[in-house]
Symmetry: C2
Amino acid sequence: MEIILKNCSCILTQDAKRSTLSNRDILISDGKIAEIGQNLSRSGYVIDCKNKLAMPGLINTHNHLAMTLFKGYGDDMPLDKWLKEKIWPAEQKLNAEAVYNGTMLAFAEMIRSGTTTFNDMYFFSESIVDATINAGMRGFASYPTIDHNNPEKTDSEIRNVKSFLSYLASKNTGLVKPMVAPHAPYTCSRELLERSKELALKHNIGLHIHVSETVKEVNDSIRDKDMRPVEYLESIGFLGPEVIMAHSCHFSKEEIVLAAKRGAKISHNPTSNMKLAGGSMQLKEFLDAGILVSLGTDGSASNNSLDMFNEMKVCALLHKFSNNNPEIASAQQVFDIATRGGAKVLGLEKDIGAIEIDKQADIVLINLKDISMIPNHNPISNIVYSANGSCVDTTIVNGKILMENRILKTIDEEEVTDKVNEFASTLV
Amino acid sequence: MEIILKNCSCILTQDAKRSTLSNRDILISDGKIAEIGQNLSRSGYVIDCKNKLAMPGLINTHNHLAMTLFKGYGDDMPLDKWLKEKIWPAEQKLNAEAVYNGTMLAFAEMIRSGTTTFNDMYFFSESIVDATINAGMRGFASYPTIDHNNPEKTDSEIRNVKSFLSYLASKNTGLVKPMVAPHAPYTCSRELLERSKELALKHNIGLHIHVSETVKEVNDSIRDKDMRPVEYLESIGFLGPEVIMAHSCHFSKEEIVLAAKRGAKISHNPTSNMKLAGGSMQLKEFLDAGILVSLGTDGSASNNSLDMFNEMKVCALLHKFSNNNPEIASAQQVFDIATRGGAKVLGLEKDIGAIEIDKQADIVLINLKDISMIPNHNPISNIVYSANGSCVDTTIVNGKILMENRILKTIDEEEVTDKVNEFASTLV
């Protein structure tokens, strides 16, 4: 199907020159951006984009989507206690259906707030694949492995990953792709990390891992391995351009150099890190070292929102504050991280992250009459500092309309809500 | 007129016990909360509150409302440069009509995001009074005085304040009240501060002032006066329970003791302080000292949002992060600051800040079907960490409905938007 976004008041292309266009049409054909120009007159589904701003869909690179089920279930607690007393016991009650519905609720929130691509890591990963296909989202699913140095568990976890990879391959879909996701250096044995790396290289897919989220984790690593986490990952040959490290709050200077040298990439999760008081990654130092940085919300249980507009603002605020410098993390820089940056970190920079001819049509339309966008001195400032996701009017992924006029097209919100509430009631 | 909020699924009363009620009606009569109970059957306007949560309206205690006109006009700059190069030149173009419309735009944003009371400080203050009356908001208006140690200016500024006080008195309205607002210890002469204090005491009204927003301001005070700002205010007899100090980022231990001893109060502005990299007030230390703390967004040019839901979240995140402690600034504590805390700081604790019989009916209804509120493990956690202002369905001030079903009742949003855009175009 062809779609024409007619007469967009503003297009923030996020191309290499960060070109801004006014009063242009965007023609979407076969899922791609086919043409950008004036008075494009083709047949097709027309969306009137007067008073609308078109921008690339936002890219959220670290998620545990089905944790929407635990949103508000435990807050204001240290990470360790929160995991052991609240989250891990609650996760024992998960099943495939709950994960499916929790993931669908996450997708509803993401589509409503202009996110078009995710990078998930959660149990019952087959359900994440099914939900992605049904919702029409773009993203990466992975099964998080944890063996706590138990060799039997190592084998069974690797079997689980292989089984997940086969399941996904059988679906024959381009929209959802796999990664291999050893949970973290402190929850995975050396063998599990090495076998994960082998699998990722064999299948030519990414590795998604939590690294240096807390000081405790770093101190434990030094105590147990006589190395900091990134040094340890380097020592076992784990680092590489296929690696996406979430959080990354406590890298030494040497570890930043190591990550840069190996081309490893970062998912920065400012809200989650602040909420759990884990610390802050060093945005300026990472970017100065040439490391690719993207933005992620983490799961709903530690954020507790999947709205990337909020995440962009918190990212800017955190780095201005912690560097005592209001010029750091400018609106444009943060918007770049949430669009082009996400695309690069996920290895999809040829496909998404900008509105350009031949890229996939992952496009968000913002209502320029929303109060957050008035006055319009600087649309990128308004997006990062003034707006939240409720300014999004329409969300398109791969040329398919997932929301128009704030009506979801692929998700039955009422049904998903009922099922999530039903599961939530089993936790009490 | 009587209004019945019928069958509220949840009422967060924010009374002394923080009682939560389920499935109760709230009867509003003559602007007050007349009754809370089950099956209240009176005639009156009925709002069906199934799947709605009722909570006290949010209280925003430091504003420059008409700075909506400059939203996005200058960002990512140090405070000094931002004021001198962007804001002060732009403010030269202000006029009464622009301030009226900028204030109305702010009210539209506030009503949409559940704020019912403000505390403003801005030029053309008569326009703020007019806008408040027309919008039906509750709040405090004040004319900010600055004399930069010029005695002629001192006299004219005091005349301006008196004239503003007369204007407001002539309006004979209970909803908008005055304060006296010497801008800051570094922009006001000692005489201006002293005469402001006299005026406030004479009229039995509050004093609203910026204090210790930046390190530079503190260092300049030590250089010029051999005292830190709060020590200086104490030395001239300025401090007292009628004083509301905005920002208050850089108090020494001794200054915290001084503020507590004098009963001076705080408006904490976390987003603005982080965005301008001004620093952080010490929430735990202030509360431990028994100082009354409230929350404010500051103006739209330095935030750039007036959404108190976002402000509550940023408040919690900032203090967890900067204290390395996720247990600090819990959801309940931050919600208290934004409701009961605001009421106390403004001296309105008998009238607003909680849903209790005989309090004024400043009530916000939240749509519990909004994704941010699902699942409902903990509504206060959802309000502080998950939601933004777009979950607000209905806003009532003093028993008058200002928004219902997200339709504004007292503000013509289209007209206000057009006028704000018109003024904004004169700045370019």
